[in-house]
Every structure is written in structure tokens, then in C-alpha cells.
Symmetry: C2
Subunit: 331 residues, 2 copies
């Protein structure tokens, strides 16, 4: 079976680690990673979501933090601050930095991000491993999520900041007035992405932020079309449990955009494939089981299962529940 998943950072990566554990060694997993939160800092190209997926599935992640490398040190970060170089708020670990250096050097040499990601993956996700994982960036084109916030100092009263600045520096505290995904309308899907969706036996949307993680991937036109055209069932998992984001700060972002913080409203936001949306199936958390009828009313098959990745067993069970719903929808 060929499973294709879209993914943001921590939540998606953790779910995919479970999914990889429960599928057959003969299955193949393709992950289409969000690149809209990529950022250039200190002359280096940083791809937080691709790296989180790569490190998590490659057993290099710091599990407590959820991002960056295990046994990390922070000498470079301290030194850059000693030089007075901004920004100082980005979590730039020494070991992690080597990834950015290799990536930047390859990009400067003319390789597209997809080729760079493949080269980096050779270390973390070797093709010989079973089941194999192929990590593809959603696009080789530059796409960048900017968050519009209030700023009295600006003549317009508003200002757009890079998603990382909103998320990491400002802890998602400013009220979100708009989300602008710069470049997404012109972005082409990276090589292999559309085929991975069309040829899949299952397409999965892990419990990731529907706006800045999954939403930006779906913003790439070829990918959206692929999701509508694939014969594979498309099944997603709610990142919202009992009206709040399981992790991250999705609630603030959703509220700012006028989207209700509920597992049902996210499903409605994605929409049913048979009505031009993206979903065939949707998993909500046990405690949100009252929302199932509302979601099914939107022509999306919904099931209530435990959706908290408390530990390995819970995560694996979520992956099994996802595959069960896929199986149900295929028949």
C-alpha cells in the first residue's frame, strides 16, 4: 500500500512516526511537507517542518522539545547574540545548524529544495529502511506565510510579520487579522508530489494546523487538484480536541480568522470531497463524539476515537484508527 500524507511540524511528525510503526514493512510512505514556514536567517535556509519530520522519523529529534536535534547545544546562538546580530529569538541549535548549512550550500549550488531534501534524507530516512519514507517538500518555489497583526505605529494600523516571528517570537499572542501565504498562488508542486497523491492508496491529513501547516500545502494549486482527483480516500485527524489545540497555538490563529475552535468546524473548513472540498473521512477525539453527526451532515465520514498522542501506544492506536477508516472508505 502506498500512503501519502501531508504534514506540518510536530503534530504531523509524531503521528507519522506512529503510522510508520503500524503499517506493513512492504508499504510505502510519502510525506509532503509544508515549506511555508521556511525562513532565511543569518544567510541560511531553514525549513522547520521538513526538519521536524526528518528528525522525528529519523530518530534524531529532541522528543521533549518536539523540534530540533537531541543532545543539542547552543553555542552559535549565544555567539551570534554576542555579535549583536538579530534575530535572537529563533531557536538555532548547533547540530541543527549543520542541516541548514548543507541545505544552503546545495541551494546556492543550484539544486532545487526537493533535491536538497532528498540528499538530507539519505542520512535520516535511508531508502533501505522498511517501510521506506520519502519526504518531499510541497514545492520548490518560495512560499512564505505572513501573519497580519495590529500595529498602531504603521499608517495602515496593521503590519505583516513572518509566521516564525508570530509563532516563535510573539508566541502567537497578537490577534491575527489575516494570513497571507506569499507566493502560494504561483507555486508549483515539487517533482513527485502530484503523482504521490494520484497514485496513493490512502491520503492522510495528520493532526496539524489547518491554516498554517496543512492549509498552506493545500494552497498549492496542483496539490489541491491532485487531492480532488485521487481515487484514494482522504482521511484527516482533528488537531482540535474539546475546543482547543492539542498542541501549538492553533486556537488563537483560528479565532483570529473567525473559525470556530472545534473539531467539526475544521472538517467543515476542509469540506467534503464530493462537494469540492478535501475530505472523505475525519477523526475526532472521543470526547468530541457529539460532533460526529454534524460532520457527517457535511458528507464527511466521521469517527470518534482517542486522539491524544500521550505515548507510543496511543499514537499507534490513532494510526490504526486512521487506516481502519481508510479501509472502510475504500470498500
Amino acid at each position: 500500500m502506498h500512503i501519502t500524507a501531508l504534514s506540518g511540524g510536530i503534530g504531523g511528525a509524531r503521528f507519522l512516526r506512529g503510522l510508520r510503526r503500524v503499517v506493513s514493512p512492504d508499504d510505502e510512505l510519502t510525506v509532503i511537507g509544508n515549506t511555508a514556514d521556511d525562513i532565511w536567517l543569518f544567510g541560511l535556509k531553514i525549513c522547520p517542518d521538513l526538519d521536524t519530520v526528518m528528525y522525528t522519523l529519523g530518530d534524531g529529534i529532541d522528543d521533549d522539545r518536539g523540534w530540533g536535534r537531541r543532545d543539542e547545544t547552543w553555542q552559535i546562538k549565544d555567539e551570534l547574540a554576542a555579535y549583536g546580530v538579530e534575530p535572537t529569538w529563533f531557536g538555532l541549535g548547533d547540530r541543527d545548524l549543520a542541516t541548514h548549512i548543507v541545505r544552503t550550500q546545495m541551494l546556492s549550488a543550484g539544486y532545487p529544495l526537493s533535491a536538497v531534501t532528498k540528499a538530507l534524507s539519505a542520512r535520516w530516512l535511508p531508502e533501505s529502511e522498511r517501510p521506506p519514507v520519502r519526504l518531499l517538500p510541497m514545492s520548490d518555489d518560495r512560499v512564505e506565510t505572513h501573519i497580519v497583526i495590529d500595529d498602531e505605529a504603521e499608517p495602515s494600523g496593521r503590519r505583516a510579520i513572518h509566521f516564525q516571528e508570530y509563532w516563535v517570537r510573539r508566541h502567537a499572542e497578537p490577534t491575527v487579522r489575516d494570513v497571507v501565504v506569499v507566493g502560494v498562488d504561483e507555486a508549483a508542486a515539487a517533482p513527485g508530489v502530484v503523482d504521490a497523491i494520484l497514485d496513493a492508496d490512502a491520503v492522510i491529513l495528520p493532526p496539524s494546523n489547518p491554516i498554517v501547516s496543512i492549509g498552506t500545502v493545500l494552497g498549492v494549486k496542483d496539490i489541491a487538484v491532485g487531492l480532488r482527483d485521487t481515487r484514494a480516500p482522504v482521511v484527516g485527524l482533528s488537531p482540535i480536541v474539546e475546543g482547543a489545540a492539542v498542541r501549538g497555538m492553533a486556537d488563537q490563529l483560528l479565532s483570529g480568522l473567525g473559525i470556530e475552535n472545534s473539531a467539526a468546524s475544521i472538517a467543515e473548513h476542509y469540506g467534503a470531497r464530493r462537494h469540492g472540498g478535501y475530505l472523505d473521512g475525519w477523526l475526532v477525539h472521543d470526547a468530541d463524539r457529539d460532533l460526529v453527526p454534524r460532520i457527517e451532515q457535511a458528507d464527511i465520514a466521521a469517527r470518534a476515537v482517542p486522539l491524544l498522542m500521550r505515548d507510543r501506544a496511543a499514537t499507534d492506536a490513532m494510526a490504526v484508527a486512521t487506516l481502519d477508516l481508510v479501509e472502510e472508505l475504500r470498500t
Copy 2:
């Protein structure tokens, strides 16, 4: 008094640290640093000699190693090797790397190396310190020392390698057939360099390699002309003691070029200013005192003094002896 010194790496930097200790707080020190051993690695611009001077005078140097930062760690180096990225032989410390990142970012933004060096120096050599030290790269233009060695695999039987590869990777072991300083003929002195020489009260050539450290600086035409035109005495210190390099691997390099390994032959190599060369005065080590008459025969004032920088007191005494000879030559 305004003292201007040319400098390579370790030897020059250590001597200059002593010189700075013995001069008056009202004196001013300008260091013109060799940039011909600069190298681009992993997309980063590395200036080993400038950094050694900056860290040594700024109290950030690892004194045992003589180069790089104190309390250094090597995570990035290990990580790059784990990615299989070459070269693995260059000593790239984590703390040191921050300097290369800041430098590369500023160069990419369009600043010349001299402006970058000034910015980095703000941390290590603040203008408020007494006596102030101003570090200038010899040139903003790219100059690169290549060493020609034998290579049977090449049709010509020879091959040119970057100086760092010869020095760091090959430990100066291959026989030197030639030294080619790429770009030096077209290089202009960096802003302030020529004036620092012309306006100096003393110009000093520390005990550095006469070919790949001082020689490359003198290879910049404006600098050579400045040294000939300045009214300041030009005094140098022999890096060769009793027929061998005090440190580094200068002997192999000199032998390969057919230059005798002696304190006198280095003086003759530089030549007397009154005969179109560079020197007014030359210090040799005590044990080389028999060479003094030969050097004076070349119209270079020579003195024999202890020239081993065994400790702080010995280094300071060398600096005092240098200033004594300068004083003698000024009157």
C-alpha cells in the same frame, strides 16, 4: 605613536599581543592582516589570519591551539561529516563558526571585507580600549594562495591546491614546487591600509611566514609601494631561529622554493629599503648572532635578541627590542 604591523596568523598575533602590552595607552596600533589564506568552505567565508589576530588580541583565542576560540565545541564539524559533506579536515569550531556566519551574511549583503572586519572587531577590539587596535584586511579583493605540488595523476605531473589544503590537510608535507598567489597582482589595498603605512611612526613585520603570510601582503602593489615610501622605519623579526621555523611549517615551504632556512636569508629575501626592498631593521635570535654581519652587509640594521615567545615576559621583551630598534633607526 602610530604603529602599523603586517600580520599572518599565530606568530604575528602573539607578537602583537605583546607589542600592545608594552606600548603606551596613547599609542595606536593598526594591523594589516593577510587574507590570502582565506577560504570558502560550506558556503562560508573563513579568514583564518584575521580571526586569529582578532581572537588573540580580543582575548578569545584558544591559547594552547593558537587558533580558534577558547572553550570550543565541534558539533557542526561532526554533523557535516555525518552528512558526508567534504572537506572533513578543516578545523571548524562551533563558536568560531558564528564569526563565519556573520561575515558571510554581511558579504552577501554587499559589504566589503574591510567593513565586515570592522563590524566583527567591534566585539573583539572595541575602539574605546587603550591602546586601540584597528584590524584591516590587506585587500577587499579575493586573493588566494595556491601551492603547486607533484601529482603523478595529472598530465602535467603537477597540481595546485589551496594553501589551507596544503597546510591543514597535508601538514605541509608535499614538496612545494611553486606558490601562486591568485589575484594578488590585481588586488587593491583595502581602505585605510596605505595611509596606515604612510602615516605610521613605525612599521613592523612580526615573526610570520615570509612567503604565505607577510609575502602575500607585500604582494599587494599599493602596500609594497607604501612600504617603500613611508618615512617610518620598517623593522622585522625573523620567524626562523637556528635554521628552523619557530612554529608552523615554514621550513618546508622555504626549502621547496629554494630559499635557505636562515634568519639572514629571510632578511635578504625581503631586502633593504635603500635598495628597493622592504627592511630598515631586522631582529634575529640570540643564537643566530653570527648572522648579524651578513645582514648588515645587505644594508639592513640587525640586532640579535631572544626571539622565542616562550611566555608573556619573553614576548614582551621581543616587542620592546623591536621598538628599541625602531627608535634607533628614527634618530
